[in-house]
C-alpha cells in the first residue's frame, strides 16, 4: 500500500511540473492563431481556438492534480517530467495539424509534430505548397522551440522553483550550465536564439527580395527558413525544400546559419563573452571540422567519379550542401529524395549515413552521436594505445578542452561510448524494420539514420503511404535520439514499476 501511494505521489509531482511545461508550449498557439487571423484564414483560426482550449485544459488539470504533491524534485522526477511532457505535447500540438485536413491520420499529424520538436524535419503533411500561413507558422515554431527545448521555455517563463529545475533541464538532453543558476542559463539560451533569429531573418528577407520574392512573402520565407536552419530542423514552407529558391546565395546563408545552429550554446556564450579562443580549442568544434571536411571530400570524390553533376559549383551546391545539412542534422535538401538512391551511388549514400549518425554538438539544437562523444571516444582510444605502448610504471594524464581544460577519465569515455552504442542499436533496428517492410537495405539505413540522428533528409521512404509500423518506429527513434535515451529509459522504468505494483496489489486482493 505504501509503495502504491509512493507511485501516486511521484505521479502527482510529475503531473504538476509537466502541466507547467504544457502550459508554456500551449501559450505559443496564439501566434499562429494571430497569423491566420491577419491573413483571413478563418478555418485555421477556429482550429487553433479548439487546440488552445484542449491544451490549456490539459495543462491546468495536470497542475490541479499535482497541486498538493511535494514540490521537491528528485533526479527521477526531473527526467520523467521532461520525457513525459514531450509525449503529451506531441499529442496536443498535433491537433491543429489534424483539424487542418492536411494529414491522412492523427498518427501522421503526431509524426510531423515529433519531427518538428526533435528538429528532425521528416514530413508527412500533404499539399505543403498550399498550406495555410498559420499552420506553416506553427510547424516552424515547433521546430524552433523544440531546438531550444520545451523545458527550457518553461524554465524561462513559468517555473519559479530553481532547486529542481536543473534536473528537468538535464532530462531534456542538456547538461551544460552557462551561469550557476539554471533559470538564467535557460534565459541566455533564449537570448542567443532570439538574437540570431533577428539577424538571420533580416539577412534571408533581403536575400529573398534580391532573388525575386515579394517583400511580404520574402519575410515569411526568411523567417521560416531561419527557424529551421537555426534549430537544425529542415522544415521548409515549400515541398521542394531548398530547391524551390534556386539560389546559391540563399544556400550559402543557410549553410552558415545551420552550422552555427549545430554548435553548443556554451560555445556561443563563450565567444560572445570575448573568449574567441574557445572556437579553436574546443574538442567538439575540432571534431566537427575534421569529420565534416573528410566526409565532404569523400562525397565530392564519389560524385565526381560518377560524373553526376556537370560542374564544380554544382558539385558544391548538391554534394557539399547536402552533406553539411546531413552532418549538422539539419535536413535541408537541394536534390529530390529519390536522387540520393538513383544518382549518388552506394558509396555516396553510405557517407551520408555516417555523417547523419555523427551529427552536431552536445547541448545544441542538433542530433546524432554528437562531436563531443566522437572526440572523447577517439581520445580515449588514443590514450589506451599510448598506455599499452608506454612504460607500465608511468602514469600519464590525458586532457581535452571543452569550455575548460578537462582530464580525460575512463567514466567519460564509457558514458560517451554507451550513448553511441544506444544510437547504433536504434539505427540498426530501424534499418532492419525498413528492410522487413520491403525497402532496399541502403534506403532503409538512410532513413533510419535520418530519424535516429534527427536529420530529416529522406531517400523516399518517408511518405504518407509507408507502413504505420515504420511511422511509429520513426516517432520513437526521433524521440529517443533527441532526449538521448536516459530520461526515456527512466520514464519506462517508472511506468512499468508503477504498473507492476498495482498488479501485485490487485492480485493479493
Amino acid at each position: 500500500m505504501r509503495e502504491q501511494s509512493k507511485f501516486i505521489k511521484d505521479l502527482k509531482t510529475v503531473s504538476y511540473y509537466s502541466g507547467y511545461i504544457i502550459l508554456g508550449t500551449s501559450m505559443l498557439m496564439p501566434i499562429p492563431l494571430l497569423t491566420s487571423l491577419l491573413s483571413a484564414e478563418y478555418n485555421v483560426v477556429l482550429d487553433f481556438i479548439i487546440s488552445i482550449t484542449i491544451a490549456l485544459s490539459t495543462g491546468f488539470l495536470m497542475i490541479i492534480f499535482g497541486q498538493r504533491a511535494s514540490k521537491k524534485l528528485e533526479w527521477k522526477h526531473g527526467l520523467i517530467i521532461a520525457s513525459l511532457s514531450w509525449i503529451i505535447l506531441m499529442l496536443l500540438c498535433a491537433v491543429p495539424y489534424y483539424l487542418s485536413g492536411n494529414t491522412n491520420s492523427f498518427l501522421d499529424a503526431a509524426f510531423d509534430v515529433m519531427s518538428g520538436f526533435t528538429t528532425t524535419g521528416l514530413v508527412l503533411t500533404q499539399n505543403l505548397d498550399h498550406l495555410s500561413l498559420g499552420l506553416n507558422m506553427w510547424r516552424h515554431m515547433l521546430t524552433f522551440v523544440g531546438g531550444q527545448g520545451m523545458v527550457v521555455l518553461a524554465l524561462t517563463f513559468l517555473v519559479k522553483d530553481t532547486v529542481g529545475a536543473y534536473k528537468m533541464y538535464v532530462g531534456e538532453g542538456k547538461d551544460i550550465e552557462l551561469v550557476p543558476n539554471v533559470k538564467n542559463t535557460a534565459k541566455i539560451i533564449w537570448i542567443i536564439s532570439m538574437v540570431y533569429l533577428l539577424t538571420g531573418t533580416i539577412i534571408l528577407w533581403i536575400n529573398g527580395m534580391v532573388i525575386g520574392l515579394k517583400p511580404g512573402s520574402s519575410f515569411f520565407h526568411g523567417l521560416f527558413i531561419f527557424m529551421s536552419a537555426w534549430s537544425t530542423g529542415g522544415f521548409a514552407p515549400m515541398s521542394q525544400n531548398m530547391l524551390y529558391y534556386h539560389s546559391f546565395s540563399y544556400e550559402l546563408v543557410t549553410i552558415i546559419f545551420f552550422i552555427i545552429g549545430s554548435f553548443n550554446f556554451g560555445l556561443h556564450y563563450a565567444v560572445w563573452k570575448g573568449n574567441k579562443g574557445e572556437f579553436i580549442k574546443n574538442i567538439e568544434v575540432q571534431s566537427f571540422f575534421i569529420t565534416a571536411t573528410l566526409t565532404s571530400a569523400l562525397v565530392v570524390l564519389s560524385l565526381n567519379k560518377l560524373n553526376v553533376y556537370p560542374s564544380a559549383v554544382a558539385l558544391f551546391r548538391k554534394g557539399v550542401y547536402n552533406l553539411l545539412s546531413a552532418h549538422t542534422t539539419t535536413g535541408f535538401g537541394t536534390v529530390y529524395a529519390r536522387q540520393f538512391a538513383l544518382e549518388w551511388g552506394d558509396f555516396g549514400v553510405l557517407i551520408m549515413v555516417i555523417a547523419m549518425l555523427i551529427g552536431g554538438s552536445a547541448c545544441s539544437t542538433a542530433g546524432g552521436f554528437k562531436g563531443l562523444r566522437v572526440g572523447v571516444v577517439f581520445k580515449g582510444i588514443i590514450a589506451d594505445i599510448r598506455k599499452m605502448l608506454g612504460s607500465e610504471r608511468r602514469i600519464k594524464i590525458y586532457k581535452f578542452h571543452y569550455m575548460k581544460e578537462q582530464v580525460l577519465e575512463d567514466n567519460m569515455v564509457k558514458s560517451a561510448a554507451f550513448i553511441i552504442i544506444c544510437y547504433i542499436i536504434l539505427f540498426t533496428i530501424g534499418t532492419a524494420l525498413g528492410t522487413y517492410c520491403g525497402y532496399p537495405v541502403l534506403s532503409a539505413a538512410f532513413e533510419a539514420a535520418s530519424a535516429s540522428g534527427n536529420v530529416g533528409l529522406s531517400i523516399g521512404v518517408t511518405t504518407p503511404t509507408m507502413p504505420s509500423l515504420l511511422k511509429v518506429y520513426y516517432i520513437i527513434a526521433m524521440y529517443l535520439g533527441r532526449l538521448e535515451f536516459v530520461s526515456v529509459f527512466v520514464l519506462i522504468g517508472f511506468l512499468f514499476g508503477g504498473a507492476k505494483r498495482l498488479c501485485l496489489r490487485y492480485s493479493r486482493h
Binding site: 540570431y196 550559402l252 572556437f279 570524390l301 558539385l315 558544391f316
Partner: protein, 34 residues
C-alpha cells in the same frame, strides 16, 4: 555579462569563423573536382 557590443562582436565572429570554413570547403571541392 553580455552587453550589446559583446553580442554584436560575438555574432560577427561566429559568422566569420564559419564563413572561412565554408570558403575552405569550397576551395577543397574545386581542387577535387578539377
Amino acid at each position: 555579462m553580455l552587453n550589446y557590443k559583446n553580442i554584436i562582436k560575438g555574432v560577427f565572429s561566429e559568422i566569420a569563423y564559419v564563413g572561412v570554413f565554408v570558403v575552405l570547403l569550397y576551395a577543397l571541392n574545386m581542387v577535387i573536382a578539377r
